[in-house]
Structure formats: C-alpha cells, structure tokens
C-alpha cells in the first residue's frame, strides 16, 4: 500500500526515505556512543583497580609507619623524662648528651642483630642525632649514634627545632655506593616543667618496604626524595623521566591530571605518587609507583573488538527495525497528506469568510458608534434652536404647539441615539460595568414617582409586590434603564383603565423581577422577534418608541449575568421576567421576600 502511495505522490516517498535515513543516523550515533562509553568505562575501571592497588599498598605502609612512629614518640617521651638528657641540654653539657641517651636508645640501635623480618625489623634505627633548640645537629662524640657522612648529616638539620613529630627522607649511598634512602623521624623533646621544646631527636630507619599488592602486574615502587628516585630494575634515564613527571605535577597543582602516564623502555606505564611526609618541614618525599600498561592495553584491545562486534550487530538490527518502523510510520502520514490537501482548500475558504465577517462586524460597530456621535450634536443644536424659537413672541398659538411637538421629537431622537450608542459600545465589547449593590425596590419606586407626574397615571392600576432589601448586583445606571424600559413598555402598551403588576422575589442566588400589564398581547408569530433591533411588535404608530428598548434591555441584563424573557403574552396579559444576580446571601432576605 505504501508503495502505491509513493507512486501517487513522490513527495511522500521522499519522506519515507528521509525517515529511514534519520533513523539510521540515530542508530549509528547511539551505537558508536555505546561503544565509546563501554570502552571508556572499561579503561577507567582498569585504572581504578590499579589505583586501588596503590592505595592498599600505601595503607599497609602507613600501618607499619604508625607503629614505628608510636614507638619513636614513646621513646622521645621517656627521653624527655630523663634527668640526664635535661642536664646535658640545660646545663651546657652537650658532650654528655649522647652518652646519656645511649642507654635509652640502646634497644632501638641493637635490634638489627636480631635480623627479624617482622614489625620489629621496622623498629631498627640506623642512626640517631639530637637537634639543639635552634634545629642544628649536635655532633655525636662517639660512633654509637650510627655513622653518617657530613653531607648526610646536614640533611637532618632544620631551620628551627621541630615542634611536632615529622618525617623526612635522607638520600645517601649504601655500602656498595648505590643510592639509598633512609627514613628519618624527628620528634621534639619537651621540658616536663614548661612543655617548651628544648631539643629534638632524629632517628633514622631503613624505609618501610611497600608490600606489593597487585602481584603479577609488574608493579614497581620506590621513594623519591631530594630529586633522587630509586626504583628496582629501572635505568637512570627512566628514573629521571619519572622524577621530572612527578616534579612537574607537583609544581603545577592547578593542571594536575587524574593519572600520570610515562613511557619506560617503550612501554607505556601508569604512574602514581603520593607525598609520604605530609606536614613536615623536611623536603617532600613521595612514594612512587609505576604499572606497565602492556596487559591492560591488550585487555582493552580485546574488549574493543568485542564491543565493535556487538556494536555492528546492534547497528544492523537497528537498521532493520528502522526500515520496518519507517514503513509503519509513513503510512498514516501518506493518508493524512491526501486528506489534508482537501481540508486545506476548505479551511482557506472558511477562514476568508470568517475574516470578512469579522471585518464587517467591526465596520458596522464602528459605524454606529461614529453615527451616534455625529448625530448627538446636531440634535442638541436643533433643540436649542427650537427652544429659542419657543421663547420668542409673536407666533400664532399653533406654531408654539408645533414647536413643542418638534422639541419632544428631538428628545425621542436623543433617546434613540443614546440607545444606539450604548448598543454599539456593547457590540464592540467596550462597555465596562462598574458593579455594585443596587436596591431593586428603590428603582421601582423611582419609576412610580415619575409615573405619577404623567397624565395617564390616573387611568392605571398599580399592583406592587416588591419586598424591601432586595439587592442585586449591577451598575445603577444600566439596571435602572432595564427596569425603566420594562415598566415604560407596560405603561405604553396598556389599555385604558388597565393594570400594571410589578412583583419581585429572591430565588436562590438570583432576583426575579416580573412586570406584567393588561392590554393587547403580542401576536404569537411575532413573539420570537421582539428582542431584535428596530422590531416593534405590532405596535401602532400611536405608541411612542423606536424598537431598540427590548433589545437594549436584554443585552444589558445579559451583560449583568442575568436573563430577560417574555413569559406570556395573550389576549389581555403580557408578562416579562428579568433575572438578576442577588447581591446578598439568600438566607438573609428569604423571610422578607415571602
């Protein structure tokens, strides 16, 4: 079917091809993204594993160091409590300092002979030296304190006596002349009396050997101190490169990479390092660790192929599915295209029509608004002219009658114009209601007062049933106009000696006003049209009016959220009903209404 559609409309065929292409692009993009992410994740996981190995190794290293630090701290405390150490330091007897400490430190210095391979081995000190209260090394008089070359001993000194325990690393040459590193721990000796640091003891140890964790990974680790690194089985060129790498990373902490890489003998290596002596006044030293990436890279290569295979399969599957989907999806679109072609013409016609109507409506509204304005001022001029004529003397009496009649006509004209103006404003949607509470009884009373002034009042019977306190929501001017309109009609279309009945009551949240009058009713055929503009329901010319009143009244009532209806009109009875919104809660006025 889709093929048939395609032959019918080449545009739709193109749509299908484009849909297929878009789907293929999405599928390939997703697949390559998946491949990339999977590979990246795998690489990251592998590196994280190595990092964990390094951290574990450091942790075991730290455990041993903590053990040793505790022993050293304990030793410094007992030295501080040794009266002879105090005497030597305080009484200017430095020659007696080392002999005084010898006894105290003997076990640390001698445990080497035991040659144990456990924690005790870590407690074997290679040398010890005292620093005076300025941080300078106090020369030992004997060899008991362990041998140090002058340049090695110089590395022990500090700018001031250390105020807390700190570690340093001493670069030296071992017996065979190879570079070696000794770990040294400086502990302050505090006066038991004043707690002031009076001296410091520096103990040198063989560095704690890191226990290799990732066995079989080819990992190598060593200590970098004073720009000297010794890593087992690496040549000096590789060592130099590692040192440079670490020093650059330390010097530019802002550009620090998550992991460092270096190449040793053409093999890429991952490089980790961590400062060993945090918060120390001795030069920083680092535990450096390198992992060859050969295995890791091989594993990644393998993984990459596997991911690529899976990705290709996935992509092929994706293409098949997208072909199927594009067929399915384009079918309703093809149907829609045919239908919409037809609809488009219809819609354009309707839109044109609507536009015309709206324009007409706007034009007519504007016209009546303009006309009303243009008409009002001539009428006023006319009336003023007639008034001045009436005031003049010398005309025959019938002329005065004629003038009075003309003046009366101008008032009618003004009424028509004002009604038109109001209607046009309503049509244009420009009438804003200033809503407030209006007393309905008061409105009716006002009209009755006006009625009393008219001569035909004497011939009419008024029946009034309007309870007091009947409040409606509305703008006084317009609600008065509605009431006046209805009552005027009831008066005008009445017969001699007829009756007008005005009744009002509250119904729920509405107020219902009924105005009824005796007299000839509205013919049944005309009843549907009485609310149309300029329609005068079977009224003779003897009845004044211009056929706008009922229309205006209904529009106004509706604008107030109410309704105006003809209830009944027959031989001798016509009754209108206007509903308004009640202003007060019904409960309060129910009693009064009944």
């Amino acid at each position: 079917m889709s093929f048939a559609a395609a032959t019918r409309a080449p545009g739709i065929g193109r749509f299908r091809v484009r849909l297929l292409l878009a789907m293929m692009v999405v599928v390939s993009a997703l697949t390559s993204l998946g491949i990339y992410v999977a590979q990246h994740r795998a690489a990251k996981d592998a590196e994280a594993d190595l990092q964990r190995d390094f951290d574990l190794e450091l942790a075991s290293l730290h455990r041993l160091q903590d053990l040793r630090n505790a022993a050293v701290a304990d030793r410094s405390k007992s030295l501080a409590q040794n009266a002879r150490i105090h005497a030597a330091l305080e009484d200017n007897a430095l020659d007696l300092l080392y002999p005084s400490a010898r006894e105290e430190l003997r076990d640390l210095m001698e445990s080497s002979n035991a040659g144990r391979k456990d924690a005790g081995e870590a407690l074997h000190a290679r040398f010890y030296r005292f620093l005076d209260s300025h941080g300078a090394v106090l020369e030992p008089p004997t060899m008991d304190a362990g041998q140090l070359l002058p340049n090695e001993q110089a590395q022990l000194a500090q700018d001031g006596v250390p105020q807390f325990m700190q570690a340093g690393y001493l670069a030296r040459r071992d017996a065979t002349g190879r570079p070696a590193v000794d770990e040294m721990i400086a502990v302050p000796i505090r006066s038991t009396e004043t707690n002031e640091v009076i001296a410091a003891l520096v103990l040198g140890f063989k560095p704690v050997e890191a226990v290799p964790h990732g066995e079989g990974t080819g990992m190598r680790s060593g200590i970098l101190a004073n720009g000297q690194l010794q890593l087992p089985t690496t040549d000096s060129a590789a060592e130099k490169q590692i040192v440079a790498e670490v020093e650059r990373d330390v010097a530019h902490p802002s550009e620090r990479k998550r992991r460092l890489r270096t190449t040793i003998d053409g093999v890429p290596h991952l490089l980790f390092f961590k400062r060993l002596n945090q918060h120390s006044d001795y030069p920083p030293a680092y535990e450096v660790c390198v992992y060859p990436l050969t295995k890791l890279l091989a594993r990644q290569q393998q993984l990459r192929w596997r991911v690529l295979e899976a990705g290709t399969l996935l992509m092929l599957g994706g293409f098949l599915v997208s072909e199927f989907l594009s067929r399915r999806l384009s079918r309703p679109v093809e149907e829609l295209a045919v239908v919409s072609q037809k609809n488009l013409v219809q819609r354009q016609q309707i839109e044109a029509k609507l536009e015309m109507t709206a324009e007409e409506l706007q034009r007519s509204t504007r016209f009546s608004a303009d006309a009303s304005h243009q008409l009002k001022s001539p009428i006023t001029v006319l009336r003023a002219g007639l008034d001045s004529l009436l005031a003049r003397d010398g005309f025959p009496p019938e002329v005065y009658e004629e003038i009075s009649s003309l003046i009366h006509q101008t008032y009618r004209l003004t009424g028509v114009v004002e009604d038109l103006l109001l209607l046009s404003r309503m049509d244009a949607g420009k009438l804003r209601l200033n809503l407030r509470t209006v007393d309905l009884k008061h409105l009716v009373e006002e009209w009755i007062d006006d009625l009393q002034a008219l001569p035909e009042a004497a011939d009419l019977h008024l029946e009034k049933d309007v309870p007091p306190d009947l409040q409606i929501v509305g703008e006084t001017r317009f609600t008065a106009l509605v009431v006046q309109n209805l009552l005027d009609n009831a008066r005008k279309y009445n017969r001699r000696d007829g009756t007008i009945r005005i009744s009002a009551r509250e119904e729920g949240n509405q107020v219902e006003l009924r105005v009824a009058n005796t007299g000839r009713g509205i013919p049944l055929a005309e009843q549907p049209y009485i609310f149309e503009r300029f329609h005068r329901a079977g009224a003779g010319d003897d009845v004044p009016g211009h056929g706008l009143g009922l229309n205006l009244a209904r529009e106004l009532v509706r604008l107030h959220g109410g309704e105006l209806r003809l209830i009944r009109s027959d031989e001798n009875w016509t009754e209108f009903c206007a509903r308004f919104r009640a202003a007060q809660p019904a409960a309060k006025t129910v009693g009064a209404a009944q």
Binding site: A87, A88, E193, I198
Partner: protein, 214 residues
C-alpha cells in the same frame, strides 16, 4: 670530731678576719621580679627553669661582695638534704672550697648528679640515711645545678662564690652584710642563672652603707 670542731672554729675566724678593726656593714634591697603569687612572707621557695633560665620561685637573690680576699684554710661543711623529693635548701650559696653533704631524708633512693661546668659529679644511687652522707667539694666558682637521676623534676642550685661575704635576701629582697673590710669593691646581686646585677662600693670602716638593686 675534735678536728671537725677545730675546723669550724678556724672557719669562723677566717670569715671574720681582724675582728675589731675596719668593719663595714652593707645593707639594702634587691628589687625582685614580681610573681603572680600573693606577697606572703614565706620562707619556702623552689627552683624553676623557664626558657632555659634557672631561678628561685618565689624569687630570692644572692648578694655578694667581690674582691681579692685572703683564702681561708678550712671552711665549714654545708648540707643540702633531700626531703619530700626536693632539695633543702633549694638554693645554697657557698665559698669556693666548701664541702657540701647531700643526706637523703626521704624513704626512697636518690641519685644526685650535676652536669654543670662548675662541677660535674654523680653520687650514684644511695638509700635513705646513708652514712656517711655523700659529699662533694666545690672547688670552682660558678652555678651548679643539682638534679636527681631518678626524679627528673628535682632541681637544686648551689652558687659557688669566690668570696666569704655573701647573703641570701629575704622574700622582700632585703639583705645585710656585716663585718666587711674597708676598701673599694664590687657588690653583686645574683637573680637567676642569666642575670646578675653589680654596683661599685667604697666601704669605710665602721660605717653602714646602703645599696639597692637596681
């Protein structure tokens, strides 16, 4: 015993040479450092070291007259005992050549030693009431810090002076030196291991002179 008595007599004669002629008296007050203790006129004080300075607390001063005086042949033996893990007295002023005994009045061992340049010695451990009490002859002028190897907090001072004329002030810093020879000398006031004040004095026989520090 008789020899000991003899030597005391001789020493007394040496301290007051040529009794009856050319005797001067020196008195005054040494302004002692203010302490945070209430000024209670207590005879008790101890040795403390602050920033490497040893001093008495509450402060006392040692006032001594420096000059070339004839050496006495024998001097009375002085005593610094150990009682309640403290030296009694904590500060002792002696003339060069004086022997000091260190009897142990506590119930435990003590090991009195000194690394001070003026006198290095180590009496070793000894039990309470050891007889004869270990003693040391101080043959060089200077300040000797006494310590106990067993009780690190114990401190004592012996000020070895090259003069027979010296006195330790009272807690208010007042001193009085009597039976002084007439002549031109230097009067010194030792306050602590780092501070010693001095004034030249011209002593006239039979007169009482007043010198305050500073």
């Amino acid at each position: 015993m008789i020899r000991a008595l003899n030597s005391i007599l001789l020493a007394a004669m040496a301290v007051t040479p040529a009794t009856g002629r050319a005797q001067a008296t020196l008195e005054g007050r040494v302004e002692l450092p203010k302490t945070h203790f209430a000024p209670v006129a207590t005879e008790r004080y101890e040795i403390v070291s602050k920033a490497g300075v040893l001093a008495t607390d509450p402060p006392r001063a040692v006032v001594y007259l420096e000059g070339d005086f004839p050496k006495p042949k024998t001097l009375a033996t002085k005593t610094v005992g150990q009682k309640d893990f403290a030296f009694r007295p904590p500060l002792l002023a002696i003339e060069v050549g004086t022997k000091v005994e260190f009897p142990n009045y506590d119930d435990t061992y003590h090991n009195i030693f000194s690394y001070s340049p003026a006198k290095r010695f180590d009496l070793g451990r000894y039990p309470p009431n050891e007889t004869p009490a270990p003693s040391v002859l101080f043959d060089k002028a200077g300040l000797v810090t006494l310590r106990c190897d067993i009780h690190e907090h114990m401190r004592g001072l012996i000020l070895v002076l090259d003069t027979p004329y010296f006195a330790i002030t009272d807690s208010d810093g007042r001193y009085r030196l009597t039976n002084l020879p007439a002549g031109h000398f230097t009067i010194k006031a030792w306050l602590n291991s780092k501070n010693t004040g001095e004034r030249p004095v011209d002593l006239k026989s039979g007169g009482v002179q007043h010198v305050d520090f500073p």
